[in-house]
Subunit: 326 residues, 2 copies
C-alpha cells in the first residue's frame, strides 16, 4: 500500500512536470462560508485535473521495458486525460476505455492527447472486463484509476502541497474537503497530511445519491451506490469505495459530506465570479460543502480541493444561468 | 520615474500580500498559436486583476500619517478594486470615482471592499477634475491608475515573476504580450524585464478603435482615441498613453498589437476550455493577439499576460455561446 515515502518519491518524479497549483481565496467566499476558505485549484493542473499527477506517477514508476509496450486505463474522462497525456509525454501508446456518455470534451481531449479511445456502455458493460481483455491481448499495463499504490502516491502530492501552502498562509489546523469517487485523491491527501500536517483532517465530499463513501464511513464497511447514472458529477461516480483507498479513509478521514447537484452548480458559479477559475460539477462538490454545509465542518479554516475543470460549455452555462447573479 | 530598485522594493512590500500567479499553458493553445504559449494568469490575483499590486504598492509606500487620511482613485473598475482592497487591508478609508457604465460586478465589488463609490458620466464629465476636487476637500491622497511611479513599480512585479517563471520553464527569449490601457502594467513589466530578462520584449495589446498606444508607438508621439465608449474591453480604454508610461514603452516595447472584440471573446472561450481560467475582455487581448496575430510575433515562444477576470456573467456567456465549441 501507498506510504508517505512513495508519495515523496512520486513528488520527485513529478517535479518540473506537474504544476504546483495555487491556493486561492476570496473575502466574499469567506463570508459565505462563515470561516476562512482556501481553494486548492487542481483544475489548473495539466490535463485540467489532478489526475495527471497519478498518471505521471504510475507511468514514471514502471520499468522502461514494460512502459514501452504501452498502458491502458478505464475512466469517465479525467483519469483518461491524465494517463493519455502522461503516456504522450513518455512517448508510449495508450488505450483508454471510456463510457459512451462521458462529456464530449473529455473524450475529444483524450483522443487529442494521442490515446486510442474505446467506448463502452456504462449501464450494460463491465469496464474492468473490457480493460483486462485488451491489456492481455496487447501486452499493455493497466493503470487503475484509484486502487493502485503509485496512482494514490501521485494524487498524494496534492496533500504535500496543501501542507506547505497552509504553512505559508499560517493555517495550523483545518478540515480538508476533497471530492471523492474511488478515493484515490482523498486517501492520498490523507496519507500526506498524516505525515506532514497532522492538524489537518480529510473529509470526503460526494453528490447526493452517489454517496457510497459517506455511507461506508458511517457504517464502517463497503456500501454501494444504487445506480451509476443520472448525476452531473460524472468525474466522481463509482460503484463503491476502493479496496485500497477505503481502509485509509476509514482510519484517517472525518465523516463524509454530501451535497446536491444544485449546490455543486452554485459553487461553480461562485468560483467563476470570485476565484476566476473553471470547475466541473464533480470538482466543485468540496467547495459546495464548504459553502453550504458549514455546520458540518469544524474549525475556523477550511481547505477545499477543486479537483478538475473539464466541463462542457452547456453545463457551465447552466451553472451561470441558474446561479450567476447570486 | 520608476526604477528597477523601486520595483524590487515594491516586491518586498507585496511579499505575502500579492499572489505569485501561475504561468499556465496547454498543448492545444500551443498548436493554435503556432509556438509555445504561456499565460501569466493575473486574473487569479487578489481583487481579480493585477491592479492589486499597484494599489498595495502605492498605499504601502505612503507615509503612515498621510495614508491614515485615506486615498482616492478613479477607475473603470480594476484599479478601483485593487485600491479599495489595499485600503481595506491597511485599515484606511477609500473613495473611488467610477464611470456609471462600468460593469456592475466591478462597482459592487469596489463597494464590498469598503470603498465609497462616486459615479460619473464617462462621456460628459472629467474624472480627473472630480478626483482632484474630492481629494482636496477631504485630504485624501490621489492614487493615479498608471501615471504614478509607485503604481508602475507594483505592476512591474508581474515582470519580475515572469522573468523567474520563464527561467523555470527554460525560456530564454520571448515576446511578452501585455494588455495596455494607460500603460502602467506594460511599462512596469518592460522595466522589470529590461533588468532581469533582457532577451524578452514587451508588446502592448489593445482592442481595435482604442489603439492609442499602438499608433503612438508607430508615430513616436502621443496619439489619442477618437472615442472612449463602445468597447467591451472596458478595463483598458484610456484617452491616450500615460505621460510617464509612454516614454518607457517607446524605449523598450516592440510594435503594438491590435485585436478585434470578437478575437478577445474567442480568447476568453479558449481560456475557459483549455486553461480553466476566467478572463475579462480587456484582460484577454494579449492572449487573443498570441492566438490570432501570430504572424506579427517573433520567436518560438510567447508569453501573454491575462491581466484580469472581472467580467459580468452575461458577457462571459456571450463569449461561450459564440466561441464555446471552437
Amino acid at each position: 500500500m501507498t506510504s508517505i515515502d512513495m508519495i515523496t518519491a512520486a513528488r520527485t518524479r513529478l517535479n518540473g512536470r506537474a504544476r504546483r497549483t495555487p491556493l486561492l481565496s476570496s473575502p466574499f467566499l469567506d463570508e459565505l462560508a462563515g470561516r476562512r476558505l482556501f481553494v486548492k485549484a487542481e483544475c489548473l493542473q495539466h490535463s485540467g485535473s489532478f489526475k495527471f499527477r497519478g498518471g505521471w506517477s504510475a507511468l514514471s514508476g514502471l520499468e522502461p521495458a514494460v512502459r514501452k509496450r504501452g498502458v491502458i486505463a478505464f475512466s469517465s474522462g479525467n483519469h483518461a486525460q491524465g494517463v493519455a497525456l502522461a503516456a504522450k509525454l513518455h512517448g508510449v501508446p495508450s488505450v483508454i476505455v471510456m463510457p459512451s456518455d462521458a462529456p464530449k470534451l473529455k473524450i475529444d481531449n483524450t483522443r487529442a492527447f494521442g490515446a486510442e479511445v474505446v467506448l463502452y456502455n456504462r449501464a450494460t458493460e463491465d469496464r474492468d472486463a473490457i480493460g483486462a481483455k485488451l491489456a492481455e491481448a496487447r501486452g499493455l499495463t493497466l493503470i487503475r484509476p484509484f486502487d493502485e499504490p503509485l496512482v494514490i502516491a501521485g494524487q498524494g502530492t496534492v496533500g504535500l502541497e496543501i501542507a506547505e501552502q497552509a504553512l505559508e498562509e499560517g493555517i495550523a489546523a483545518a478540515d480538508v474537503l476533497v471530492p471523492c469517487g474511488g478515493g484515490g485523491l482523498s486517501s492520498g491527501v490523507a496519507l500526506a497530511l498524516e505525515a506532514k500536517a497532522p492538524g489537518f483532517r480529510v473529509r470526503s465530499c460526494e453528490p447526493e445519491r452517489f454517496d457510497d463513501t459517506a455511507r461506508s464511513l458511517a457504517s464502517g464497511t463497503f456500501e454501494r451506490n444504487a445506480t451509476l447514472s443520472g448525476s452531473i458529477c460524472d468525474a466522481i461516480i463509482t460503484p463503491e469505495p476502493g479496496k485500497l483507498t477505503f481502509p485509509v479513509l476509514k482510519r484517517l478521514a472525518g465523516p463524509g459530506l454530501v451535497v446536491t447537484d444544485d449546490e455543486a452548480l452554485h459553487a461553480m458559479a461562485l468560483a467563476f465570479k470570485r476565484l476566476k477559475i473553471v470547475i466541473e460539477p464533480g470538482g466543485a462538490v468540496a467547495l459546495a460543502a464548504a459553502l453550504f454545509h458549514g455546520r458540518d465542518i469544524e474549525g475556523d479554516q477550511v481547505i477545499a480541493v477543486a479537483s478538475g475543470g473539464n466541463v462542457d460549455t452547456e453545463v457551465f452555462e447552466t451553472a451561470l444561468s441558474r446561479f450567476g447573479e447570486s
